[in-house]
């Protein structure tokens, strides 16, 4: 039975701190912070710091100058009737891109899940495009394809049509590029939604005499509304926050949206931080309103969707019949336009001594010179190294902190953990550019020399990808039965032993998947880096952006090809890991 040590401890537990004769060693430990308290406390502090401090400084820097409260920044940012144009362009661009990607993505998802559409393997390739071709490269590829002056497509078609038929430097061009780049995201979200829906609901509509279109309109779409709303929200927010497309395509002809305007204001001399802040606050407001509206819509709708059961069923693909060849051709065309053409033009350009439209002469001059130059270019090597270092450390840092945070949110459930979860999702509504601006507000004033080093980028990435880490960690945490942890406790394991020996090994697959995902997305981050990097600390995407501005198209293309190849490796590792995770659950 109870040993002496046991007795000593239980007696120790019963006393309130105070004068006691020298008691067993364990007694004192009660009043020191336990490892659990230290670790969870530190994690909560880190999350709160990352989520709140930048916002605070952003608001402070926007509304206060040396003379106190001011709205000067707003006046300079939105004055001269600029506000109407700015909001108009931003919304037009965001809504246009959303409509395009939602239409394309949803139709493709429906075809893939519910019909016997041909070339199903192509869908998979197309769906990972946004992960392997970063926005900046995708945009530049489309400039190579459809710029009125140098576009390959224009060069090919103008002899036939007479003039250059495409102009990518318009709002329609921006919508086209942004919409196509986001459609795979919609595709993935909607595939999940369609898979979760019981096909017998559709079949019963058909049996009741509804036509196929009526069924889709009256049964299918209303049933996948929650998934659709989530997709709408994500696409609207990503396009309103998008920086690459408006900066590269819009600035040329003076089409400003919020993000490109912020960039423009900061790049002019002297940079007007308050005006940029005012724009950032406006952008943040739009993002928050967007999230609010969609929450409202989703909340209203969610009650009516209990008909979507988790029951096992075999979705029977619908026969496309005589439409099959037509749809098949459409799929191939989509694949060509979204994946092959941009990649091909990038590859083609990377072998050119100087940029020119394809011709017999151009093909005979192909060379590896650009790649050779890259290896000699210190900047390129440094940028590659920086991107990798940042990717690995961001992924490691975020997943380490978030696995503890997920434990607090899912398991501990003490007061404040709900708030912690909310805090960790705050960066989701902060556009990258706004985050960059906010962090420069913070660290320009900070006495610690972080500004101008690679660490400020690390902080930015950790903040930006914190929500993703949280999502991965909580998802895998909820899949682990509470009893596994309790049985470790009852077996006598301390909190740390339980965490390390039982929880972590079980969480590993999920954490690893999150780790690779964050590595991939930080590897190509641009919008927050653009305001925070300093010469010598470039990352790959920044270097590509710089080279575009300098007109070094061919070197840029070579660098882009190398970047895409690195991402292909990273993404295939991610899919391998993801598949393993899938097996285990």
């Amino acid at each position: 039975m109870a040993t002496t040590t046991d007795r000593g401890m239980s007696r120790a537990g019963s006393v309130v701190a105070g004068a006691r004769p020298p008691a067993p060693r364990r007694r004192g430990r009660r009043w020191l912070p336990t490892p659990q308290l230290l670790i969870t406390g530190a994690v909560a502090a880190v999350i709160a710091y990352l989520a709140l401090v930048p916002l605070y400084y952003l608001l402070w820097g926007t509304f206060f100058d040396d003379n106190g409260l001011t709205f000067g920044g707003f006046e300079r940012a939105y004055g001269n009737n600029r506000i109407g144009e700015l909001v108009g362009n931003s919304l037009w661009f965001a809504v246009g891109a959303a409509v395009l990607s939602l239409t394309v993505g949803t139709s493709l998802a429906y075809l893939n899940v519910r019909t016997d559409v041909p070339f199903k393997a192509v869908f998979f390739a197309a769906s990972i495009v946004p992960l392997i071709i970063p926005g900046i490269l995708y945009t530049i590829s489309w400039i190579f394809l459809a710029s009125p002056e140098i576009g390959v497509l224009n060069a090919a078609l103008s002899p036939i049509v007479g003039t250059a038929p495409f102009d990518i430097f318009t709002i329609w061009g921006m919508i086209w590029v942004e919409g196509l780049h986001s459609s795979p995201i919609v595709f993935l979200l909607m595939v999940a939604a369609f898979r979760a829906m019981d096909p017998s609901l559709e079949e019963s509509a058909l049996m009741s005499g509804a036509s196929r279109l009526q069924t889709i309109r009256k049964v299918t779409l209303p049933l996948v509304r929650p998934g659709l709303l989530a997709a709408v929200l994500i696409i609207l927010i990503t396009s309103i926050e998008s920086f690459e497309v408006p900066a590269l395509l819009g600035l040329q002809n003076g089409i400003y949206v919020f993000t490109s305007r912020i960039y423009f204001v900061l790049r002019s001399y002297p940079p007007d931080l308050a005006a940029a802040g005012a724009l950032a606050v406006g952008l943040l407001l739009i993002a928050v309103i967007g999230v609010g509206i969609s929450r409202l819509l989703a909340g209203k709708g969610s009650k009516t969707f209990q008909t979507i059961t988790g029951k096992g069923f075999r979705p029977r693909p619908m026969d496309l019949g005589r439409w099959k060849p037509v749809v098949g051709f459409g799929i191939l065309l989509y694949f060509f336009v979204t994946v092959l053409a941009p990649l091909a033009v990038l590859l083609y350009t990377s072998f050119l001594p100087f940029y020119q439209a394809p011709s017999a002469e151009a093909f005979s001059s192909l060379t590896l010179e650009n790649y050779r130059d890259l290896f000699k270019l210190d900047q390129a090597v440094t940028a590659m190294k920086n991107s990798l270092i940042l990717g690995v450390s961001t992924a490691t840092g975020v997943m380490a902190v978030m696995s503890v945070a997920a434990w607090m949110v899912v398991r501990a459930r003490t007061r404040g953990t709900g708030l912690l979860e909310q805090l960790s999702f705050v960066p989701l509504v902060i556009p990258g550019l706004v985050l960059g601006l906010s962090l420069s507000f913070v660290y320009l004033r900070s006495p610690i020399p972080i500004y101008g080093t690679i660490f400020i980028l690390l902080i930015a990435y950790c903040t930006k990808y914190m929500p993703y880490g949280m999502r991965y960690a909580t998802t895998s945490m909820t899949q682990i039965s509470n009893e596994l942890e309790e049985s470790a406790l009852v077996s006598g394991a301390s909190w740390w032993q339980t965490f390390r020996r039982v929880l972590l090994p079980l969480l590993t697959p999920g954490i690893l998947a999150g780790w690779v995902y964050i590595l991939v997305v930080s590897f190509r981050e641009l919008s927050s880096s653009i305001l925070l990097y300093s010469p010598g600390n470039e990352v790959l995407s920044i270097l590509i952006f710089e080279q575009y501005e300098n007109g070094q198209f061919t070197v840029l293309a070579a660098l882009g090809v190398i970047m895409v190849m690195t991402l292909v490796v990273l993404v295939s590792v991610a899919y391998k890991v993801g598949a393993k995770v899938g097996l285990r659950q």
């Binding site: 109870a2 309790e486 406790l489 394991a493 909190w495």
Partner: protein, 385 residues
């Protein structure tokens, strides 16, 4: 051995917020109790069962003993070692954390760690001991193998734990709980995840093991047959209260309230009032007839009572035994059901429908007139609620 005194635990959501001003609903009167003032002791070597429907507080009580829940007030002590103590005012408290209590527990899901082998699962409790108490590696191995042998799992020691069958997983969970030789074993519905056949054989296995090792155990279940078959003592719980505590036979034959009589087995209830007393036997008049029965409690003439009649105490017969036979009622068969090892008849007597269970060879057509005979020794009185 284990002593629990005045254990109180209100549901999480309703707990009084300390420090904050009590607003209307937060006052003590509005608290909903998961465990309401539960006290009992478990003598050394006994298998003590907490039995009750879901939500009755049995699991909360068990988890409080384990240290996985902290009660609002009360005291839990193992021999003379106080594990938990908190007065109603919240002052003077002890709460030994779960990982320092040194108890063994088998969870409902078994909670076998899927990333470890059978051996590692069992070795874990020994490996996580404090460094100065930890056994040598050799010794750990020896102890683990010994307990695995007892559970007939020794040949599976290197197997991945998830590759075991349901029954094997159950034995593994038991091995893990027993490896530290705990003074008290806690079992949270350990058989509920198994299919009926396996459940029955493991029930006897568990009983044999518990009696052989002489390990004091608390067993939580909602299955009354399991409780009756396994326990030394049964505590029937409802809404956070212990309704009755006693030997299985006692609780079955003399339920002290309607709830217990209903929950343990099935019962016919007939209300009436005491009209006469002859020696040990009382006469109870009901609207449909007269019953004569014995009672451990002394009843005054004229008091209202409910008579609980177990179906197996009712004999169905087509012939009367003669006018004076006590407790013989005339009725009509409403329906019958063949159960394999028995036949149930539902017989209408006046306003009552009485269920009788008897030998499968006696099966009487619905609609027939029959005589019901109820053995005075097998009838029980339960108080009017």
């Amino acid at each position: 051995m284990l002593r629990i005194e005045q254990l109180v635990k209100s549901f999480d959501g309703e707990r009084k917020k300390r420090g904050s001003k009590a607003v209307g609903a937060d006052t003590a009167g509005a608290r909903v109790f998961a465990v309401n003032n539960v006290s009992f002791t478990v003598p050394e070597g006994e298998l003590f069962t907490l039995l009750g429907p879901s939500g009755c507080g049995k699991t909360t009580t068990l988890r409080s003993v384990a240290g996985l829940e902290s009660p609002d007030s009360g005291e839990i002590a193992l021999s003379d070692r106080v594990l938990f103590s908190r007065s109603a005012t919240g002052k003077a408290r002890t709460n030994v954390p779960a990982n320092a209590r040194g108890l063994g527990m088998v969870f409902q899901s078994y909670a076998i760690w899927p990333h470890m082998t059978v051996f590692d699962n069992v070795a874990f409790p020994l490996q996580v001991k404090r460094r100065n108490e930890r056994l040598k590696k050799k010794e750990i191995e020896h102890r683990v193998l010994r307990v695995l042998e007892t559970m007939e799992l020794a040949n599976l020691a290197d197997r991945q734990a998830t590759k075991l069958s349901g029954g094997q997983q159950q034995r593994l969970a038991l091995a893990r709980a027993l490896v530290i030789e705990p003074p008290l074993l806690l079992l949270d519905e350990p058989l509920s995840n198994l299919d009926a056949k396996l459940r029955e054989s493991l029930r006897y296995e568990l009983k044999r093991l518990q009696r052989e090792l002489g390990i004091t155990s608390i067993y939580v279940t909602h299955d009354q047959i399991e409780a009756l078959a396994l326990s030394t003592t049964v505590a029937v719980m409802k809404d956070g209260n212990v309704m009755q505590l006693g030997r299985p036979r006692e609780v079955y034959e003399n339920p002290n309230c309607k709830f217990v009589a209903e929950f343990i087995g099935t019962s016919n209830f007939i209300s009436g009032s005491v009209t006469a007393k002859h020696g040990d036997l009382f006469t109870v008049d009901t609207i449909d007839g007269r019953l004569v029965l014995g009672s451990p409690i002394d009843l005054t003439i004229g008091s209202d009572v409910i008579v609980s009649i177990r179906p197996e105490a009712v004999e169905v017969n087509t012939m009367s035994r003669g006018g004076d036979t006590p407790n013989e009622w005339l009725g009509k068969v409403v329906t019958r059901a063949f159960l394999g090892d028995a036949v149930d008849h539902v017989v209408a007597v006046g306003k009552h429908e009485i269920r009788a269970r008897g030998n499968p060879s006696v099966s009487i057509e619905p609609g027939s007139t029959v005589y019901l005979r109820m053995d005075p020794a097998k009838l029980a009185l339960v108080p009017v609620d």
